[in-house]
């Protein structure tokens, strides 16, 4: 970390803060903050790592390939990419998927939520609240808690491996269903694991509820999937905090991506406004659809009927872990093996759109197919791209409230603010430069 003298403009007071390796956030980024007359003029999250061109190299590929290809976008939420891709391609082809397949997908997705949320809660986020630089240091003071986090992640991994074939980048998902559906006997050991995990998940909510949270309120519009029968994970229509909503087919009419000069990642606006997807949005819009156990845990943790404090997102994630474990147990109990494991899907010239709720927010896929089944174009809108505007606004607000802090404290606050949103900027090295220019 270092401070800089003004360069060139005598009227400008310039501070430059550098974090050479921002831990506990995925991706490469720099934050530039401009302050004029004591107020924040701009806060830009500069994502400078190269674009990855997934949408470009999907062109010309067979329509059955995206579930496996796009799952490689992320090692933490590959199921989200697989499910959104399947939803879009099945919709394009007019295929109706067996209810039992949908429930098996939901079970697989629960595994991803449990593993991803446990990773973020215990290894990326909790150290911020406990004064620890990382989870190794956290293990020194709170060994039992870290063991609990590992056990939860392992429970999530067990679902991914049993249903998806392996815990990272599962290989069992295909357009129309699965290559092989597990038997009830295959799932029985999972139920044992998950019953123990439920206690760990409830204890996790109690643990994080005891942290201290700054009193902060995020005013951005919230957007999440909605399903009439269940807390939406693997499909649904779209609802917003303004009381609006629209079908997935209209996504492109409402959500517009655009380039900004300071980032290689696209930003997005919802009907021209910044918005946030992810746990805060899901909880605020649909908390009444959580299971009774999850709702009880939320109430005991002091969550109200909405949560707009990004620092408290760790509590919401913990509640969602309770729900995902509970839901996985329910799905295993009610499991009927889909036979055949996949519905045959025949390609046709069409456009298909699919969504699902990745652990960190709504993930949208759109594919244009030719009659021969080749992909003519693809568009993928990941949650972190959608959330970038809201994250920048949140950063500007936090910095504006704390301009009196010294460089180190201000930088730490910025890092915490970013981690509150669990961004998955990329699958590369970690880097953040923060530069504050005061005029």
């Amino acid at each position: 970390m270092a401070g800089d003298a003004p360069d060139g403009d005598a009227a400008a007071e310039r501070r430059q803060l550098t974090v050479r390796a921002l831990a506990r956030v995925e991706g490469e980024g720099r934050l530039d903050v401009a302050v004029r007359n004591g107020s924040v003029e701009s806060a830009q999250l500069n994502i400078y790592e190269p674009p990855r061109f997934f949408e470009a190299f999907l062109r010309g590929r067979d329509f059955r390939e995206p579930p496996d290809l796009t799952s490689r976008i992320c090692g933490i939420c590959p199921v989200a990419y697989q499910v959104s891709a399947c939803n879009a391609l099945e919709q394009a082809c007019g295929a109706s998927v067996d209810r039992r397949v949908v429930e098996l997908r939901r079970l697989l997705y629960c595994g991803e939520w449990i593993a991803s949320h446990a990773l973020h809660i215990y290894f990326l986020h909790a150290p911020d609240f406990l004064g620890a630089p990382d989870s190794v240091a956290l293990a020194r003071s709170q060994r039992g808690a870290v063991e609990r986090g590992l056990a939860l992640k392992k429970a999530g991994n067990a679902i991914l491996e049993t249903v998806g074939g392996r815990p990272i980048h599962p290989v069992n998902v295909r357009v129309g269903g699965f290559y092989r559906a597990p038997t009830r006997t295959d799932l029985a050991p999972l139920a044992e694991t998950l019953r123990r995990a439920l206690d760990d998940a409830i204890e996790t909510v109690r643990w994080v509820a005891g942290f201290e949270f700054p009193d902060v309120r995020l005013e951005s519009t919230l957007m999440a999937l909605h399903h009439p029968e269940r807390y939406a994970i693997e499909d649904g229509d779209i609802r917003t905090s303004g009381g609006g909503g629209f079908p997935v087919a209209d996504f492109d009419d409402h959500v517009v991506e655009y380039h900004v000069p300071h980032s290689t990642a696209l930003h997005a606006r919802l009907d021209g406004e910044r918005y946030l997807t992810g746990p805060l949005a899901r909880y605020t819009l649909h908390h009444e659809q959580l299971s009774a156990t999850a709702r009880e845990a939320a109430t005991a943790a002091g969550l109200d009927t909405e949560c707009r404090n990004p620092f408290r997102s760790i509590v919401v994630r913990a509640v969602e872990v309770v729900y995902a474990v509970d839901e996985a147990l329910r799905l295993i109990e009610a499991y009927e093996r889909p036979e055949p494991p996949a519905t045959p899907v025949t390609a046709r010239a069409a456009v298909g759109r699919g969504v699902s709720e990745a652990p960190r927010g709504l993930l949208y896929h759109r594919y244009h197919l030719a009659a021969n089944g080749l992909i003519e174009s693809a568009n993928i809108v990941p949650p972190t791209a959608q959330n970038q505007d809201a994250i920048e606004a949140d950063l500007a607000d936090r910095i504006g409230e704390h301009l009196d802090l010294d460089d180190a404290a201000l930088t730490a606050l910025c890092e915490r603010t970013i981690r509150n949103h669990d961004p998955c900027i990329s699958c590369a090295t970690h880097f953040l430069d923060l530069r504050v220019v005061r005029r």
């Binding site: 506990r24 995925e26 933490i76 991803s116 990773l119 989870s135 190794v136 998955c424």
Partner: protein
């Protein structure tokens, strides 16, 4: 460790296949392909000796060259993020949790090809037998040192000299 769908990165699984059903010296040997740090922690918790085999890519590299390292004197070089849990950070975490193995030996083999596909390059495929032999030697030496240790206790510490 490794991914057998990335050619030479399939080294770890190949070594495990070569070790299948062997119980050198009558000891129980568990062979596990680890997908992440959690798998490693589980695999080596309570073990007297853990041997990790992984591919190494470097510049300059000599494909097939086998190297041996131990945990002694190695500090964590990474940080715990979703995508970046390195072996020695995992070991550091294991130490804090009291789940580190009695001793850790790492064998790396320098690779030539980690493109998508199945099958090891010829120099890495040849190295599999060398690694298996090295593991046998490691177990024999460990047995000898354990016998000596039982006669003359080591000074206290988590990493007795080998």
């Amino acid at each position: 460790m490794g991914n057998e769908f990335r050619r030479d990165d399939g080294l770890g699984p190949a070594v495990i296949r070569a070790l299948a059903d062997r119980t050198p010296g009558g000891h129980r040997v568990d062979a596990v392909v680890a997908a992440d740090a959690v798998d490693l922690l589980d695999a080596w918790s309570g073990a007297d000796l853990a041997i990790v085999v992984d591919l190494a890519m470097g510049t300059p590299a000599r494909a097939g060259r086998v190297r041996r390292a131990t945990s002694a004197g190695v500090d964590a070089v990474g940080s715990i993020g979703g995508h970046s849990v390195d072996l020695f950070t995992t070991l550091e975490l294991a130490r804090e949790l009291g789940r580190s193995p009695g001793a850790l030996v790492v064998f790396t083999v320098e690779g030539a090809d980690v493109r998508v596909g199945i099958g090891l390059s010829p120099p890495v495929a040849r190295a599999v037998a060398e690694v298996v032999a090295a593991i046998d030697t490691e177990l024999e030496n460990w047995e000898i040192s354990e016998s000596a240790r039982r006669r003359v206790p080591d000074p206290p510490g988590p990493w007795p000299a080998r």
